[in-house]
């Protein structure tokens, strides 16, 4: 069945609907498109970020009216403000600054911060350079970054030091530093654009504070962690800003559609990124927090109390005050002053103004004050003007005021019962009268006035009273010989501290020029004796027997001369002792005291005791005192003499000896070698040659062993006992002053140990010589080919042994002289010469002699060999 024709009205309706939809879609698209097209060139779309200003709307901040200091801010409801405000500008500020002074540094600091913090410093940059003041910030502009600045208007707490322009800061400091920047975006880009659109990215800004490597954007500076007390540095403020925006620009062009004439299409993007950095430096220094205070009073039973205040404070304190029993003393160095500065906004700061003064009701007897611009030291001696024996800790107080605060110490002293000490000094000796000065002080070093000092010398007793300086003088007649003078403070509670002894020289001289010459001659005799002994030995070895006997007789003749010289010195001493009027009795008290001393007193009075022992010939007592010293400072007492002077000569002689030895060996070698061409002596010459080489090497390196042993012993001795007496005793914590005062006497004591060491050393070397040379020498001697060498080596060995014995004898003589001689001063130098001679002989000449003997023995050998050939 066929269908009829399509229902055309429905089709038509569908077609109509399609048309409408198409038209509607076209119009809608056109509408959307037209939104872009019809955007006018000067009609801008809003940016993505706020806080920006269009260039057309931007106006630089205008300078506000100048502000003045506000009296009612500091003194609210105070009628004085009316009078102050009535003054002219200049006077008003000066009067107001004086009127608003505070009572404490903390209040000053707080009010400065209050005032500076409330100032409306926000937009306008007050350029202080323009009004001839020091700039406190920086200003700059760059394209979109406009009116950019920062300022540092306050440190809290701080004080401005006018002397160097630095700000003193405390351990933690708050920095008030407002900053400002405007981000200005241009309204449009120049050019023929049909459309512009913006992408305002915005801006960033930060203000950074730096000291050295430390940097922060915060407001607190940890000054105590960054700077040492008193250290100077620069605080750098750096403000950094960046601003960015971009434009999309569209230009007109011919449209692609047939009915359109122009279309506006995107053409370009222009971006702008602006940066700006400003910085400024501020000189700062850290206020030291040093605080040491000590106030000690010595209070006698009756009389005036005396005290000593010792201080260590920051050099730039404002003032300090100490009080004792209501009496005060104040030392002032600086004061704080409010200063106003700035242009439009009046800023305040505290300035440090020098204001030195000292005053008080406490009687200062002496004062010592010093500073190095960072620390202040002071020692103040004072005396209470009335008798006040009952003083306690609660009667004292101390207050220190600095630009940053106040420190108070209650119970600010320690008291102790006064103890006197006395020191004697011989001021002058003329016309047979000696003037003795006694200085009496308490334990703080304060002179004690009115103390009675009893001077005792032999049977003479004088009482003198000390003056205001603690000085008492007495005049005593000189004796024929040195006599002791004792000074004692009468009624002193401290018996050992309030006594002292001093020696007053006698009228007769100790040693005249003649005695000096005599001792020099006698001192030189041992060296001459030793040289003659050695010469005699060498002559004996060279078979010049008659010459050797002659030299030996010369030595024997010297002995009586030396004994006579020693007796003359001893007689001199005896005469002095016997002629002194009761010389032995004059030192009896000293001797009694010295015999009873414990170690600390033995050390303190060793010089006086030793001189007393010397005068009374009591060497056993001197040895006991010395033993007491030695027992206590035992291993540290030097056991070796100072051989520094001998080291170079010894070294030179050894080196020459070795060189000569090698030359002799080389000559011998050549001679023997040439004998090898002789067919009769060929084999024997070679044997002798080889034995010679072995002997040389053995002797050469055995010397190394000997010198090594000597060095080892020296090193051990130095390690135990130190290099010299002064260094060793200083190590034992005795004062250098004691050592220098008593060194001459100590030198007599110390060698008691050194003899033992040297005998040990001599024995060491003798044993080494025995071990190395003697067996080898015997071997060479009993080998027919080397009989001559054997004899030479044996000679060397016995020579070394002989010289070791000579050295030991010299040391024993030295020991006897030191321990038993009547006059230790004279025999000390005499004995020391023996000691010195033994040392030179053993370590210097012995080597030269031994090796010279070896050289001569070599020559003897050559002579024997040539004789055998003949």
């Amino acid at each position: 069945m066929g269908e009829g024709p399509v229902d055309s009205p429905m089709l038509e309706a569908r077609e109509e609907k399609k048309k409408y939809f198409t038209l509607f879609g076209f119009v809608f698209a056109l509408f959307i498109f037209s939104l872009f097209m019809i955007t006018p060139a000067h009609a801008l779309s809003p940016g993505k970020y706020s806080d920006y200003v269009w260039a057309s709307d931007y106006h630089p901040p205008a300078a506000p009216a100048n502000m003045n200091l506000n009296c009612s801010f500091f003194l609210p409801d105070d009628p004085v403000c009316a009078d102050i405000n009535a003054l002219d500008n200049e006077s008003r500020d000066a009067v107001l600054l004086a009127a608003i002074g505070r009572t404490s540094p903390e209040e000053y600091q707080d009010w400065v911060r209050y005032w500076n913090g409330q100032l409306p410093i926000k937009d306008y940059y007050d350029n202080l350079s323009a009004i001839n003041e020091t700039a406190d910030g920086a200003y700059g502009e760059n394209n979109s970054l406009r009116d950019m600045w920062f300022r540092l208007i306050d440190f809290y707490p701080a004080v401005y030091d006018q002397r160097d322009g630095y700000y003193y800061l405390s351990d933690q400091t708050l920095v008030l530093s407002p900053f400002h920047v405007n981000f200005v975006v241009p309204n449009s880009m120049e050019g023929d654009w049909c459309a512009q659109s913006y992408d305002i990215k915005g801006y960033d800004v930060e203000l950074r504070k730096s000291i050295g490597n430390f940097s922060t954007t915060g407001s607190i500076l940890p000054v105590s962690q960054l700077m040492a007390p008193g250290e100077k540095a620069n605080l750098t403020l750096t403000m950094s800003a960046t601003g960015a925006y971009s434009y999309n620009l569209s230009a007109s062009r011919n449209a692609s559609c047939g009915n359109c004439t122009q279309e506006c299409v995107f053409n370009a993007t222009r971006s702008s990124a602006d940066t700006l950095t400003l910085s400024h430096e501020y000189p700062i220094k850290r206020f030291p927090d040093t605080f040491e205070y000590n106030n000690t009073l010595s209070v006698p039973k009756t009389g005036f109390a005396q005290g000593l205040v010792s201080l260590r404070l920051p050099a730039d304190f404002l003032y300090y005050q100490f009080s004792v029993k209501g009496y005060t003393y104040t030392v002032s160095r600086h004061e704080l002053q409010l200063q106003s500065y700035g242009g439009v906004y009046p800023l305040l700061r505290l300035a440090l103004i020098p204001s030195p003064s000292q005053s008080g009701t406490l009687h200062i007897t002496s004062s010592s004050q010093n500073d190095d611009n960072i620390t202040y030291w002071a020692d103040l001696h004072y005396k209470l003007p009335v008798s006040a024996p009952d003083i306690g800790e609660t009667d004292c107080a101390f207050t220190l005021v600095t630009p940053f605060g106040t420190k108070t110490v209650e119970r600010a002293c320690t008291t102790a019962r006064a103890e006197s000490s006395i020191k004697l000094e011989v001021l002058r000796v003329e016309n047979g009268i000696g003037t003795i000065q006694a200085s009496v002080h308490d334990q703080l070093g304060n002179p004690l006035e009115g103390s009675v000092v009893q001077f005792t010398s032999g049977g003479l007793v004088l009482n003198k009273t000390t003056d205001a300086n603690g000085i008492a003088l007495a005049q005593l007649p000189q004796g024929q010989s040195t006599s002791s003078v004792e000074g004692a403070v009468v009624d002193s509670e401290n018996a050992s501290g309030a006594k002292a002894i001093i020696f007053l020289a006698g009228k007769s001289g100790t040693t005249g020029k003649g005695a000096s010459f005599l001792s020099a001659v006698v001192g030189a005799a041992p060296i001459l004796l030793i040289v003659l002994l050695v010469s005699s030995s060498m002559m004996w070895l060279l078979r010049k027997r008659s010459s050797a006997w002659l030299v030996l007789l010369l030595c024997l003749a010297l002995l009586p001369a030396m004994a006579w010289g020693q007796d003359a010195g001893a007689n001199n001493t005896t005469q002095i002792t016997q002629d002194s009027s009761g010389g032995v009795l004059d030192v009896q008290a000293t001797l009694d005291a010295c015999r009873g001393y414990d170690f600390s007193n033995a050390v303190r009075h060793f010089g006086e005791c030793a001189e007393a022992y010397q005068l009374s010939n009591e060497f056993s007592s001197m040895r006991r005192t010395a033993t007491k010293l030695i027992e206590n400072i035992g291993p540290l007492v030097v056991a070796t003499p100072d051989i520094t002077a001998y080291k170079q000569p010894y070294s030179d002689m050894v080196r020459i000896s070795l060189a000569l030895f090698r030359v002799a060996w080389a000559f011998n070698s050549l001679y023997l070698l040439l004998n090898i061409f002789n067919p009769n002596r060929r084999n024997e010459a070679l044997k002798q040659y080889i034995w010679l080489i072995v002997f040389v090497i053995f002797a050469y390196f055995s010397f190394t062993l000997i010198s090594g042993a000597v060095s080892a012993v020296n090193n051990v001795a130095e390690w135990v006992a130190g290099k010299d007496a002064a260094a060793s005793l200083t190590q034992a914590t005795l004062s250098a002053e004691f050592v220098s005062e008593n060194y001459e006497m100590l030198k007599l004591v110390l060698p008691f140990l050194s003899v033992t060491y040297l005998v040990l050393l001599a024995r060491n070397i003798t044993v080494i010589a025995m071990i190395l040379f003697f067996p080898f020498s015997l071997l060479l001697f009993f080998t027919s080919a080397t009989k001559g060498f054997g004899r030479a080596a044996l000679t060397v060995t016995f020579a070394a042994l002989g010289l070791g014995v000579v050295n030991a004898i010299l040391l024993l003589i030295y020991n006897i002289l030191v321990t038993t001689a009547a006059d230790p001063t004279l025999s000390g130098s005499f004995a020391a010469t023996f000691f010195s001679a033994s040392f030179i002989i053993f370590f210097g000449f012995v080597n030269l002699l031994v090796l010279a003997v070896a050289f001569l023995s070599g020559i003897v050998f050559i002579g024997q060999s040539r004789g055998a050939e003949g």
């Binding site: 020459i656 090898i676 060929r682 010459a685 080489i693």
Partner: protein, 62 residues
Amino acid sequence: MAAALGGLIDSLDMLTNILLLIVLAVSVAMYAYPDPSVRHNGLVAFLVTLLAAALTNIKIPV
């Protein structure tokens, strides 16, 4: 004085070393000698002299 002594010692050492060099040279020359015993002795002398010269030239600390 120290410099003069040092110079003397250096001169003595130089003299010794020169003599030892002569000894070594002679002992080397011995090796060219036709007699075998001379050659043998010369070799021994050369070796021991060389050893001794080396050892005794070592500076001894004094």
